[in-house]
């Protein structure tokens, strides 16, 4: 029996098409599209410009954090602190701008704080060896507490001389009426996809998630990559916090509360495997989109909002089961 060559396989499989249809993210995208079509027909408010503007903008806050979380999950870790980091970074931004500094300094301070927290998480996980769940769980409490201290647990809504710039960042629409947060999200998604597919760092993340010991033995700088991964996650939370603050025009100390679970749900629905080694930027986007469509549609269809959690839970199970059934066909 002559072995099949790579060329023959490529022709037989029509590689990209089969890769597409076997991707969980693709099917979730189909589900989102189908839901949108259904809702446009079933209700007269779903497809209205204001509602679409709201949906596209709302999902971005979860999506940006989900992009960072996807990288962490691919590496085999988890980051429970993102919601609190989002709040803390928003608070730092608010406090700095409120004190009269311009927006550039505010953003720099906020993102600097995010990177510092990410580095702190990463060092404890990679060098001291504490499990990611434990470290980020501790940071979840720590960061939120610091946010409350920074603001003395009050609402900050005055952002000094550069307030307009901040509000435009989060609430304006610079390009063709597309909300700014959406533009940021798409750019960050493209960046994330590029990193995962075309850089050494991206490949190392997949390797560590697939077999950390093998990665270490082959010479991958596992610990440094892990620190970087948690810095990326915290940074994405910081960016989301800045944009969301710009949109809301105010920062409260419960901002981002409970968001970490939403973000994890979004990444899992989008195809990231919690044991590590698999995930895509597109998955992060479509998972977040699906969550937002569920939330929005329940209201429009007049369904009790308390059912939201049931739908989200059901979708998580459906998405993961779909993935398992698909892989069931793989040989042992």
């Amino acid at each position: 029996m002559t072995p099949i060559t790579n060329e023959q396989v490529k022709q037989q499989r029509n590689a990209w098409l089969s890769r597409l249809t076997s991707s969980q993210a693709f099917w979730v995208l189909v589900a989102v599209a189908a839901a949108c079509v259904f809702l446009s027909l079933a209700t007269n408010s779903f497809a209205s410009p204001t509602n679409l503007f709201n949906i596209t903008r709302n999902f971005t806050f979860v999506a940006v954090v989900a992009l960072g979380m996807t990288i962490v999950i691919i590496s085999g870790g988890i980051d429970l602190s993102v919601g609190s980091v989002l709040c803390l970074c928003s608070m730092i931004l608010a406090v700095v701008m409120h004190a009269g500094y311009n927006i550039e300094i505010g953003v720099a301070a906020s993102l600097g704080c995010a990177l510092a927290i990410g580095a702190f998480n990463g060092v404890l996980i990679a060098y001291v060896g504490i499990p990611p769940f434990v470290v980020t769980l501790a940071m979840l409490s720590l960061a939120r507490s610091l946010a409350m201290v920074a603001s003395n647990n009050t609402v900050v809504f005055e952002f000094g001389p550069d307030q307009d710039k901040l509000l435009f960042l989060g609430g304006g629409a610079l390009l063709f009426g597309v909300a700014n947060p959406v533009v940021f999200t798409l750019l960050l998604a493209l960046l994330t996809a590029f990193i995962l597919r075309w850089t050494k760092f991206g490949r190392y993340v997949f390797a560590i998630g697939g077999n950390e010991r093998a990665a270490m033995l082959t010479g991958v700088p596992v610990r440094r990559v892990k620190v970087a991964v948690y810095m990326v996650s915290a940074l994405s939370a910081g960016i989301a916090g800045i944009i969301e603050t710009g949109w809301l025009g105010a920062v409260t100390t419960n901002l981002g509360s409970g968001m970490e679970l939403q973000v994890i749900a979004a990444t899992v629905i989008g195809g990231a495997n919690l044991v590590g080694g698999a995930g895509t930027a597109l998955g992060a986007l479509v998972g977040s989109a699906l969550l937002e469509v569920i939330r929005n549609s329940l209201g429009l269809l007049g369904i009790n909002a308390f059912w939201q959690g049931a739908f989200i839970g059901a979708f998580i199970l459906v998405a993961v089961t779909f993935d398992r059934v698909r892989n069931f066909r793989q040989p042992d």
């Binding site: 099949i4 790579n6 390797a207 093998a214 033995l217 082959t218 010479g219 080694g277 793989q330 040989p331």
Partner: protein, 247 residues
């Protein structure tokens, strides 16, 4: 002058003498079967050669030149590669990705460098062709047979044109048909002038492919002879201690 010479190598972990006063030499184009019961010191000896830890005593020479290894990467730089028992492969990556792991090829200019997937695939396919393996560079390791996974692990050693390849139980957990594939891969490496140390529990495989046999027991060398001058019965006796030594 041999390719690799070990002179009175010892490794002590506290009071435990994992390896005691072992001297041997390996030539290019030679397969040395290294046998011994569990705890005899085979893995420890091989890890010393691979640079995982330094010996407590003794010296190592390559091409007559004294060698002090500072780590696995240093060993690789000198042309010594090890294929681990569990192959150290990432199931979620392709064959090409695994072969080039931590040594990726890039294209681009200046700081704007991206992975060169096409070049890595091509080179990997080239190596598989040299090894006469039907493994494909774009397949995921997860979907491969044991023999194909071995080919990927061995292909890694070809990247840096390794001159010494250490293999730890390469035929341990695979099917009969795949064993033949792996032994063929070993022969091909030998035909290229590479010196191979083969640790194995499986007598038929060692006798099928080795040129020399070295037996360790309790950290000491008890046999070192051309395989044609030995037999499975003699080797079994040496491993268990029924035969004290044949040095």
């Amino acid at each position: 002058m041999a390719l690799l010479e070990l002179e009175k190598i010892s490794k002590h972990f506290g009071a435990i003498h994992a390896v005691d006063d072992i001297s041997l030499s390996l030539d290019g184009g030679e397969v040395m079967g290294l046998m011994g019961d569990n705890g005899a010191g085979k893995s420890t000896l091989v890890k010393i050669v691979a640079g995982n830890f330094p010996p407590t005593g003794g010296a190592m020479r390559m091409d007559g030149v004294h060698l002090t290894l500072r780590g696995p990467a240093d060993a690789r730089a000198h042309g010594i590669e090890i294929v681990y028992q569990d192959l150290a492969l990432c199931d979620n990556l392709t064959a090409a990705a695994n072969v080039f792991l931590s040594r990726e090829l890039q294209k681009g200019v200046g700081t704007l460098k991206v992975l060169d997937h096409a070049a890595m695939s091509r080179r990997t396919d080239q190596i598989f062709a040299e090894l006469k393996s039907d493994t494909r560079s774009r397949d995921l390791v997860r979907e491969m047979s044991g023999g194909q996974r071995q080919a990927v692990a061995i292909a890694r050693t070809r990247l840096s044109e390794a001159r010494i390849v250490l293999m730890d139980e390469p035929t341990a957990a695979i099917s009969v048909r795949q064993v033949a594939e792996v032994l063929d891969l070993i022969r091909r490496l030998r035909d290229r002038g590479i010196g191979i140390v083969l640790i194995s529990h499986r007598m038929p495989d060692v006798f099928a492919v080795s040129d020399r046999i070295v037996v360790l027991r309790r950290g000491r060398k008890v046999a070192d002879k051309p395989i044609a001058n030995s037999s499975p019965e003699e080797v079994t006796g040496l491993i268990t201690g029924a035969i004290e030594n044949v040095l």
